[in-house]
């Protein structure tokens, strides 16, 4: 994915039970999305600590997306409800600090939604690419 | 204690009794009804549409005046009470509506601070029926009295919050306190035909007859109401069932009815 010649780096946190399986399904169905998206498997979206997200930005990520089971379908019954509150708060704060809204996203993707996974990643990568390099939250010293 | 009082147009005119007996009885019970200055007619019915602002201003004026005195606002007429209470509720809960009203009114904004009581609520919740019972000098023993609530006292329940809207007891309990026997019948909260009597008196008559029949079957000897329009419709039904204002009976029980008649 390139927009104006910029290839973004995107970290996707996917919960093991729904979204990671959804990503696998996208693969099974050969639905392509940009290779800029790198997936990290977590047991549940509620395992995603805001520190991980900031760390990714610090180390040069241009966008971070968190995927979990649809509300009500969490393997652990309530994990994604906590994710929803935590990320709503974190994203609001990043926006308050002047960070581009499009660099963060939460999406609910079930194990059956391979097509949604691919479409989401395509859309997210395009939006992030359009923003260009993550200057605001990036740590120049850590980037090689 | 002193409370602000909104009499309403009909109580100054066709329903003077309702007003006079209410004042007299209240005095006996230690409450002075202080009439709001320059009150204007409430309009008779509450227009539910939330873009109707001007029709609700007279209620807000009365509410503001009571607020300025730090008094609750009391009315006896069920219709006035309904309009004022619903308006106050809208001022409390509909910020957009409240801002429009406050724009009209100017000066100090009003946000629904006033407590709105119907006269019956005042007796039940502030004075207390025990107190009423204690002041009864002329118990109405043996009288079988059926309370007619109509629609406006109780509904919409989410706003009016007066009593169980389907099986109310506020009037029955007062009837008991006055020493009489309340008659419970299911149609006591059904509509008498209301203002449609203007255009279609036959219809109002049918509705009123249903109510009276139901009360009669339950053994009622007299109907009481707090609404002049209800009383009118029930009387126009042309039966031999007497229909009186609840305040009239109250004044009788408290021994102040004759005083008013002599004047």
């Amino acid at each position: 994915m390139q927009v104006n010649g910029y290839k973004p780096l995107i970290v996707a946190f996917c919960c093991n039970w729904c979204s990671y399986a959804g990503a696998d399904l996208a693969g099974n169905n050969r639905l392509s999305y940009p290779a800029d998206v790198k997936i990290i498997r977590v047991p549940c979206s509620c395992r995603v600590n805001p520190m991980f997200i900031l760390r990714a930005f610090q180390r040069g990520a241009d966008g971070v997306i968190i995927c979990g089971c649809h509300p009500g379908d969490c393997h652990y019954t309530s994990g994604n409800y906590y994710t929803r509150r935590r990320m709503a708060m974190l994203f609001s704060m990043l926006d308050y600090l002047g960070i581009e809204r499009e660099r963060t996203r939460v999406e609910w993707v079930s194990a059956a939604e391979g097509a949604k996974f691919a479409a989401t990643m395509n859309d997210f990568a395009e939006k992030v690419a359009a923003l260009g390099e993550n200057k605001r939250l990036e740590d120049l010293r850590c980037k090689q | 204690m002193k409370v602000s009082y909104f009499p309403g147009c009909t109580l100054k005119n066709k329903a003077k009794d309702l007003d006079l007996y209410a004042r007299r009885s209240a005095e006996v019970l230690g409450v002075t009804l202080e009439e709001i200055e320059n009150w204007q007619c409430c309009g008779g019915v509450f227009t539910t549409s939330n873009d109707e602002v001007a029709t609700k201003l007279s209620s807000v004026r009365a509410l503001k005046e009571a607020a300025a005195k730090g008094q609750p606002l009391v009315s006896v007429c069920s219709a006035c009470h309904n309009v004022i209470k619903q308006t106050n509720h809208a001022m409390q809960n509909d910020a957009f509506f409240a801002s429009k009203v406050n724009n009209y009114m100017g000066q100090e904004p009003y946000a629904g601070e006033t407590t709105v009581y119907h006269y019956l609520e005042l007796l039940r919740d502030v004075v207390g029926y025990d107190q009423v019972k204690a002041k009864v000098v002329n118990p109405l023993a043996g009288k079988k009295i059926a309370a007619y609530y109509g629609c406006l006292l109780l509904r919409p329940n989410s706003t009016m919050q007066m009593d169980d809207p389907e099986n109310p007891t506020i009037m029955e309990d007062l009837i008991k306190a006055m020493g009489a026997e309340p008659v419970v019948y299911a149609r006591r909260n059904e509509c008498c035909g209301g203002y449609v009597t203007m255009e279609n008196p036959e219809f109002a008559k049918r509705k009123s007859l249903d109510i009276i029949e139901n009360a009669k079957a339950a053994g009622a000897e007299v109907l009481v109401t707090a609404c002049p329009l209800c009383r009118y419709n029930l009387q126009k039904a042309g039966t031999d069932m007497p229909v009186v204002y609840i305040t009239e009976l109250l004044a009788e029980a408290l021994g102040v009815k004759e005083v008013t008649n002599e004047q």
Partner: protein, 130 residues
């Protein structure tokens, strides 16, 4: 649905605060309505017709002036739809049109008798005119 119908529908739901989609079509409003037999369109039909955008017949119907606003349907509706508020909104749309008052001052004297309370007259005016 035509844009005009849609506009009217949105206007009515905005004015009344009623969401006709909440209706589960049980008919309790019409089961409880004291003015049912006076009406051509009954409370549940108001809800259903506003929901489908079929509002014109309601605007022209005398049923608008038969609703007593007794709130029986409002209190008893299991879904919290509040049909009476919708009827009121339709009626307001009808009478707010120029010259569309349902009652005029000239009509009143014929309706009066010695006992009629002022309340009835002001209420009727508020309901029937703009």
């Amino acid at each position: 649905m035509s844009s005009n119908k849609k506009f009217l529908q949105e206007e009515l739901t905005r004015m009344s605060g009623v969401n006709p989609k909440k209706c589960m079509k049980c008919g309790k409003c019409s089961g409880t309505c004291p003015a049912y037999d006076e009406m051509e369109y009954h409370p549940h039909q108001f809800v259903s017709m506003v929901e489908s955008g079929d509002i014109e017949p309601l605007l022209n119907s005398k049923s608008l002036y038969r609703c007593l606003t007794c709130f029986a349907c409002v209190d008893r509706c299991p879904r919290g739809v509040e049909p009476a508020k919708l009827v009121e909104a339709v009626r307001l749309v009808a009478v707010r049109k120029q010259g569309a008052n349902h009652m005029t001052a000239n009509d009143v004297p014929a309706m009066l008798d010695d006992d009629i309370p002022q309340q009835a007259i002001v209420s009727a005016f508020r309901k029937y005119t703009k």
